[in-house]
């Protein structure tokens, strides 16, 4: 099928047009990243005048210098790592044993427990009751609160449970005859056998944590605890409203555009570093996403 020589002229034309269209779509996907990178390294006045298109104009790292000299940037960066790593670990600690238990046939009330988990995919109480609940629990404005409140979700549990259920029962039986207890069966047999599923869930959790901003914005009042995304939003909101900032810095090395762009670039870099690992697994993960009860 891939032998181009066997294609008719019409087919060759079709394939080429197709390639051009895909290339255009790909470039338009990539362009915003190129654009903000170019802006972030540009001179403030060039960026503010809208002259930057492909490459930095009046190359400067002034915007980065300003951003990196801001203590809040660093603390929010560190916080993002805390939420991402801490949150992912807590998620796995809850999800893996939970999904395993829900996949066990001997579990009494298995249908009920599974329904209880799945129901939350169809109905949720909404923003306000969730927020009030967090306040009642005293989990506002705390690292632990933000981490534990989003540690679990029905989708990840069901995804992993389905994977566990698909493991041939003989693996478990063999381990059991060898004398393994439930914890050993899970840890020594099921977890290694489910590596792709667990990596996928880990990546889902990490991406969600790294990118999450809404609840961090709502639940955290202490600036010292906010993650990078909330900080970025604050900077955008502040600088956008601050007319003077734009006016007074016309000749400066940085502007609203270059500062926000450089924060965005700093925030994307870890994603880009992790992206190859993510990519290896998310194909499988999506395949498993065919969630069924």
């Amino acid at each position: 099928m891939t032998n181009m020589n066997l294609y008719s002229r019409g087919d060759k034309f079709f394939v080429r047009i197709n390639m051009v269209l895909i290339a255009l779509f790909t470039i338009s996907t990539l362009y915003p990243f190129i654009y903000i990178t170019a802006v972030s390294f540009s001179n403030g006045s060039e960026a503010a005048a809208g002259n930057v298109v492909w490459r930095p104009l009046g190359f400067t790292i002034g915007a980065y210098e300003r951003v990196l000299s801001e203590p809040l940037f660093w603390s929010s960066y560190v916080n993002t790592f805390i939420y991402t790593i801490g949150g992912t670990i807590v998620s796995l600690i809850i999800i893996i044993p939970g999904a395993y238990a829900l996949s066990r046939r001997q579990l009494v009330g298995r249908r009920f427990w599974n329904l209880m988990v799945a129901f939350t995919m169809w109905f949720n109480a909404g923003l306000i009751p969730f927020f009030l609940n967090m306040r009642d629990l005293g989990l506002m404005d705390s690292y632990f609160g933000l981490i534990i409140a989003f540690a679990c979700n029905a989708f990840n549990i069901i995804l992993l449970r389905n994977f566990f259920e698909a493991i041939p029962s003989s693996f478990e039986e063999a381990a059991r005859m060898d004398g393994a207890n439930e914890f050993q069966v899970l840890w020594k047999v099921f977890v290694p056998l489910s590596k792709p599923a667990i990596v996928t869930i880990t990546l889902f959790c990490m991406v969600a944590r790294w990118n999450g901003f809404f609840w961090a914005m709502v639940l955290l009042k202490d600036e010292g605890k906010i993650p990078l995304q909330v900080y970025l939003r604050q900077v955008i909101a502040e600088l956008q409203d601050d007319e003077e900032f734009g006016q007074s810095l016309i000749d400066a090395t940085y502007s609203f555009e270059t500062v926000t762009s450089s924060i965005m670039v700093c925030s994307i870099i870890p994603v880009l570093i992790f992206y190859p690992f993510i990519q290896k697994y998310f194909n499988k993960g999506i395949m498993m996403g065919g969630v069924k009860e």
């Binding site: 041939p168 693996f171 063999a174 060898d178 290694p192 056998l193």
Partner: protein
């Protein structure tokens, strides 16, 4: 003694009963094969011995100890699974050592045991490999190694060869047999393949629909099947079974098949059975070709000759039933093409009751 005893074993799933009161005694060091068509509950029976299935009724004794409520790990049995259940993330060494590690054996002991087992099974040079890098036969050996290493009192095999191709299956069959001779451990082996059962077993247990049809040595089952089911199940190709009406003559009882008189052996059950329909069982291997004086001659019209090499299968229709005769080829099948009569000795003929399917004149059935 490390025997296994099943007393009136019953298994129910909800209201569906799948095992109907099985009695079986497996002697120490004996190799017993449970054989039967799929769905005959042979695997379920084995899994009850292993402790993987709850026993609904009856009692299982291993080494003189009742084990109904004993956890699988405490029964001192080891099982080889159909899909081997080798852990893909562990290498051969770790796979074999898995059970010992779980049981927290001393490191030195583990090493010694694994190496000994690897030596026995010829796996020494593969210990570092992952299961994915092994051939089917090697994986099969690792699965056995994992069972052997714990020195259990009983080995359980659940169709261990069914994932192998025909050639490897024959080879591994012989290896299992040799291993059993060497280790002398009581073994229960489940298969649907009667050839495997015949070649491996000290005794075979033929099962159907959750019941035991017959227990006996391979030759007992072959020579004296207790009923038409066992007769049809054991032997390849299976026994020809032809319905016919019993008739009486001055010399004894006979049946007429396609116009040929076939004399039946002297059997107590045949007395006064004139007019009754019976099933006449004729083993494909028991025929001689052509008309032979003193034997029962049966006319056959061949429609196909299948060559196997040293032997050939002659296919025909006899009394509107497919009929097979096994013949030697002597290097050529030309002489087989125009066979029109085959002959059989009366003593080799089996007779079964048409209604009950039970064999007449069977050593056990005559008592009951």
């Amino acid at each position: 003694m490390a025997g296994v005893e099943l007393k009136k074993i019953v298994k129910k799933y909800g209201n569906t009963q799948v095992v109907h009161g099985i009695d079986l005694v497996v002697e120490e060091k004996e190799f017993v094969v449970l054989v039967g068509p799929s769905g005959c509950a042979k695997s379920t029976t084995l899994r009850m011995v292993a402790g993987l299935e709850e026993i609904t009724g009856g009692e299982i004794t291993i080494d003189g100890r009742v084990c109904n409520t004993i956890a699988p790990k405490d029964r001192d049995v080891a099982m080889v699974f159909q899909n081997y259940a080798l852990y893909p993330h562990l290498n051969v060494y770790e796979n074999i050592a898995f059970g010992l590690r779980i049981r927290k054996e001393k490191k030195a002991n583990i090493e010694a045991s694994v190496e000994e087992v690897a030596e026995i099974l010829g796996l020494t040079e593969y210990l570092e490999r992952r299961p994915a890098d092994l051939s089917g036969g090697q994986r099969q050996r690792v699965a056995m190694g994992r069972a052997i290493v714990r020195h259990p009192k009983v080995f359980l095999f659940d169709e261990p060869l069914s994932n192998l191709d025909a050639k490897l299956r024959t080879q591994m069959r012989a290896e299992i047999k040799r291993l059993h001779k060497r280790l002398g451990v009581t073994s229960i082996y489940v298969t649907h393949d009667q050839v495997e059962a015949m070649t491996l077993a000290d005794r075979i247990v033929v099962m159907q629909d959750g019941r035991i049809e017959q227990i006996g040595t391979p030759m007992e089952l072959f020579n004296n099947p207790v009923n038409t089911f066992v007769a049809g199940f054991i032997g390849s190709p299976p026994m020809n079974q032809i319905d016919a009406e019993v008739q009486k003559s001055s010399t004894g009882y006979f049946v007429e098949i396609d116009g040929a008189k076939i004399k039946l052996p002297k059997l107590k059950e045949l007395e006064g059975a004139e007019g009754k329909t019976v099933v006449v069982g004729l083993r494909p291997e028991h025929f001689e070709l052509g008309k032979v004086k003193g034997l029962n001659n049966l006319p056959v019209e061949l429609d196909l000759v299948e060559t196997l090499g040293s032997e050939a299968l002659l296919h025909a229709m006899v009394a509107n039933t497919p009929f097979v005769v096994k013949a030697e080829t002597n290097g050529s099948i030309d002489h087989l093409e125009d066979i029109s009569t085959v002959s059989i000795n009366t003593d080799l003929i089996k007779v079964f009751d048409k209604e009950t399917g039970l064999a007449m004149g069977h050593p056990t059935s005559t008592n009951s």
